[in-house]
Amino acid sequence: MARRAPRLGTGKSVGRAPGAHVRKWATEAAHFRVWSLCWPLLDWPDTLPGRRPRPNPLDRRQAKPRTDPSPLQFDRALQLLAQSGVAVPEGEPGSPAWQQGLIDALVDLSSRDALTGLANRRAFEMALAREVDRVARSGEPALLLALDIDHFKRVNDTHGHGAGDQVIRAVAHALLDCVRPMDLVARLGGEEFAIILPNCASTFGETVAERVRRRVERMPVALSTQGGQVAVTISIGGAFAPQWVRSTPTLWQERADQQLYLAKGQGRNLVRLEPTAVSVVSTEEKRLLFDSFQIQDHE
């Protein structure tokens, strides 16, 4: 019988690798050591991402909220917002987010017309300057319409200023109703309005302006105070921004205004757009160009 190698350990370990129990114990010990190292992390959830730090109830400094008096006075701004029916910004008063919300609300308020909620003159001038820059850069056609309610003084005189305000508000709504969302409708003051239409092809200018005019013409304004209705019309003057050429907002506005005066002069409730560059020479023009010239030639 061949001599077998003597086995280590007891008879229980027959069939197992030698030293397996030692290795098992060592593995468990290693796991324990790793977990015990991680334990503080698990036990300390405040430092983990996504969790809000818990105030320590025992810490007196944190228990009391900071009552550092802000050097800024917000009461008048808040009063103004409340007065004009604008929602007060959300969030904890005095926090940076709240302050930003307050500034945004004030900016919004100061660029709107109080009566109609349209863009006011200030916002309009900013938008116009931006549009002039854009047109000079991109060469896209842009149309500026100047609008004015016809015989508005008559409305004021016969129905009172309250009715006048209602008419202005109704016209403002009508204007907003018939332009694209990208267009800016502004009230410049009194019964004067303006619309900036970016990227409006020159062939569509007349159509758009005519649609606006007709929309107002067909809309009788119901007067809440006296009952009854009043019909108003508007005159529209328009001019396209000179493409590629850097113009000025004032110049553009003057050109639209001039067309508006022409529309007023020609009987009101009219659309007049500044003639765009028509390179088409009409038959009459040609006739005048050649006729006498050829006669001269035959002499």
Binding site: R137, S138, G139, P242, Q243, W244, V245, R246, S247, T248, L251, E254, R255, Q258, P275, T276, A277, V278, S279, V280, V281, S282, E284, E285, K286, L288, L289, F290, S292, F293, Q296
Partner: protein, 261 residues
């Protein structure tokens, strides 16, 4: 009110030579007028602004290695691209086949503006030889110039196109003074008759829409002359080849009138 104040017109000595109709002698007039001005001791530059179909090099018999295209792409400096031409003036050639520039993009616009701003102080007269038609490239090029020179011939087609050009320039660019040069005139006083004719139609159909009337100024007329054809076929400047020809003398007269204004 007009756009005259708004557009950069700081370079009154820049003349845009345009016509509406092609083939009325824009390039011929530009080159020979430049030669006539240069003869008067002026520093003159002719810029071939017909970016799509440039042919000033053909007229001048030049084979440029460096063109405006290289300036635009940054391969060459502007100073290298300005070449001396036979008539004693300088040229900035576009190089035929700059097809990508035949459409006006903001980049082309800015580059052209930059080129003109750079060369403007260095010359007494700059002539922008524009392309035919009234495309946006032509209109933009014209808007860079302080003065416009419309070249027309007494033919009905040319008159119509010249009139259309004048109309567009008056309404879109607020031009109120437009110079007129009548080319290929067959009779004495025909230039004046053409100017009067155009002015009459402008007064009737264009001026009522404007705040101030457009005035056409006849810079001169150039007689129809066989010497012109000969010089063009020989690819020589008329002012160089046949300076005594009637057309050449008429162009000298135009040049003196230009320097006087």
């Amino acid at each position: 009110m007009t756009l005259t104040e708004s557009t950069p017109r700081s370079h009154p000595h820049i003349f845009a030579v345009t016509s509406g109709k092609g083939g009325v002698g824009k390039t011929f007039v530009s080159a020979n007028l430049a030669a006539a001005l240069a003869r008067g001791g002026r520093r003159v530059l002719v810029l071939d602004a017909d970016l799509g179909l440039a042919n000033l090099d053909v007229v001048l018999n030049l084979f440029p290695k460096i063109t405006l295209h290289d300036v635009f792409t940054g391969k060459s400096t502007l100073a290298d691209a300005i070449l001396p031409a036979p008539g004693g003036f300088h040229v900035l050639l576009a190089g035929s086949g700059m097809v990508e520039y035949s459409r006006m993009t903001p980049e082309v616009r800015d580059q052209l503006q930059a080129v003109i701003d750079e060369v403007a102080p260095k010359f007494d007269h700059i002539l922008l030889d524009t392309g035919a038609g009234i495309s946006d490239v032509v209109l933009y090029t014209v808007s860079l110039a302080g003065e416009v020179l419309v070249v027309a011939t007494p033919e009905p087609t040319s008159l119509t196109d010249a009139y259309a050009t004048i109309k567009v320039l008056a309404t879109t660019q607020g031009r109120r003074k437009i110079h007129l040069l009548v080319n290929q005139v067959r009779k004495l006083g025909e230039g004046r008759a053409v100017r009067q004719q155009l002015q009459q139609v402008v007064d009737r159909y264009v001026n009522p829409q404007l705040d101030s009337p457009v005035r056409l100024e006849l810079l001169g007329d150039v007689p129809s002359d066989n010497a012109v054809r000969d010089s063009v076929l020989r690819r020589q400047l008329l002012m160089e080849a046949l300076p005594g020809a009637p057309a050449a003398l008429a162009l000298v007269q135009v040049a003196t009138r230009m320097t006087a204004t």
